[in-house]
Symmetry: C2
Subunit: 413 residues, 2 copies
Amino acid sequence: MILRGTIVTTTELGKLTCLPGGCLRLDEQGTVLECLPELPGGQEPVTDYGDRLILQSFSDLHLHGPQFPQVGMGMDLPLLDWLNTYTFPLEARFADLNYARSVYERLAKALIDGGTTRVAMFSSLHTDATLVLMEELERAGVTGYVGKVNMDRNGGVNLQETTEESKRETLRWLESCQQFRHIQPILTPRFTPSCTDELMAWLGNLAQERGLPVQSHLSENDAEIAWVRELHPDCAQYWETYHKYGLWVPRTLMAHCVHSDRRERTAMRDHGVTVVHCADSNLNLCSGTAPVRQLLQEGVNVVLGSDIAGGAQLFMPQVMTASIRASKIRAMTHGDAPLSAAEGYYLGTTAGQQFFGAAPGFGVGEKLHAVVVDDSRFAMDPKRTPEERLERALYQMEPADIVAVWSDGRKVK
Amino acid sequence: MILRGTIVTTTELGKLTCLPGGCLRLDEQGTVLECLPELPGGQEPVTDYGDRLILQSFSDLHLHGPQFPQVGMGMDLPLLDWLNTYTFPLEARFADLNYARSVYERLAKALIDGGTTRVAMFSSLHTDATLVLMEELERAGVTGYVGKVNMDRNGGVNLQETTEESKRETLRWLESCQQFRHIQPILTPRFTPSCTDELMAWLGNLAQERGLPVQSHLSENDAEIAWVRELHPDCAQYWETYHKYGLWVPRTLMAHCVHSDRRERTAMRDHGVTVVHCADSNLNLCSGTAPVRQLLQEGVNVVLGSDIAGGAQLFMPQVMTASIRASKIRAMTHGDAPLSAAEGYYLGTTAGQQFFGAAPGFGVGEKLHAVVVDDSRFAMDPKRTPEERLERALYQMEPADIVAVWSDGRKVK
């Protein structure tokens, strides 16, 4: 089978490869066999998207599934009030599986409608609701990781486990995860203040024994960093509270890293830890602006996250442009070179793919993850280059402009 | 006639008035007769929007019509490269009336689809294309001001008039404007560097003689401010270059004002000049962040503008949330109190209405300017308050969620 259109991919930070009238040859399982500059001879069936853009689909590597109903609410509140007024009471509602089902079905659909085919997501601490979330993502065609949250201290009302419960439920959850094909488990200590040392050590062992990936939060704001320092006077820096329990490994995603200094950044690079940049959340909650340019220059892996609901934009093109906008704040306050549109696109696509071990761009031998964008709604000038059309699409498109989505070789929209 | 729904209005900065199940009584011309907390008795026909939100429609008081095709392109370029690569060549194309018609028809539709019923807009220097723009806005149902741009120095290739041409064309344009009912002319010296002293003086006289409003740019970035200082060594500050020619009056809109210090802000307040805050543009072009909180506290009139295409968001709810986000940058860099959702809504609605002399909120005796928003797509919790629903709608809605629009008493969507 062949897909034809204006292909725009990025295999290297800041570089675009454009093939107007380009073709993707796929096998029956949706594996990419070739990426060609023009239609090959032969009898294969062609799906011709004409002049539409064929882009890599998007990766959202930090979001909280149970916070989806709260997007865009309480953005005026400081972090702790926001958590206590909205987030914790809302998360507690996911003990109710019917509520969980209704929210997660919508979330999964919204992700696919918006072209997000890879995720790393926090659930709540509820094992059964986490399984519902995984089911709904699997059903909609999303791939990636979901984590049952571990939280045996400093939780909200009705939102805390005992250490024993947390261990037992984590094991029960992991056993049930074997039913899923495209959604895999990721260990998810909420953040250092939420987990006792005993639980952290147990999770670190589990990660090691089973080769499981890990996700958590790091250095998001000053109050949090000071709190971690109080809790762990033995650790010079926040990252060490993960490292000392074996949770600082190449399969680790750390969200935010707004205040990570050179020493912390070096520890990320040396251990292959991946930073999830959440630009909109960092701005909404006045956390600061992450040193993305430094991270990239120093060789740290950086990917993007919507951070629903600290972030208020689920749609990844908005997350990419929010990252570009945040980089302009850094440009004004720190003189850092801002992110280009090509760089934003790379961070929201190829960088995310690589966390899952996939080749950059549309890699030969990889199952296809792609979106087809009809930009005719905002294209008033047919002479624009594919590079210009990509940038304009990132800034202007809405989910409705995405007319087709492939995830792991399957057409899911 | 009666409209029924969940009415949310703002008549004072930071304050919301919410009427769930509220009613607007209108006469046959769409004039508001009453705003009621519940359905009155009587035989009047009722359009019942159920639980949907009835909001004030939006005012966009700074945007460049001819830059609409360029939204979201060249956002990586510095201001001068951006102008020379995209803006000036694009604006020059509006000598072609067919091209102008095709762009302006789409722009007018996009404005109404997005609930923007009041504008103050820059056209290009082309008189006939400006009349086409006014026609298309009038036809679509937009109200407000459009200005033929005056530009007799420092223009781009094919984008400059002689002083004589500029005067003659301005008079010809003003004469032709009499055909319009809802769109009125506004004098539009592009900015001080674009107009000779002779032209500025002539425009100032014209503004005075005919009581015309004025729009221009002020204190957007440092290089521009330095340039103005070179051009007008007699003026201590940028604003004085408008003041000395009679262009600094209560009918004046000044876009940006990013770098306006206390003296310049005091001159705004004392002369009743209105500032158009263009948050997204200021960030995209790394101009800085405007001192909105200071302006408000000091009693200066502040309204919002999309500044298409320095800004990349035409849809005013995005402009409002961009303003809130920009205020968080100021909070982090200057310690200013950030804008609340209610304040963002006020600036994008009532503040704009007041520039046109309309009463705040849904004023009795005023022609209705309103939008009806169906927020069921993102409402997963029926117990939310109208205040929470408004905030969520500002952050999440798309034009498709606006199911009805009234402009000057007429239903236009």
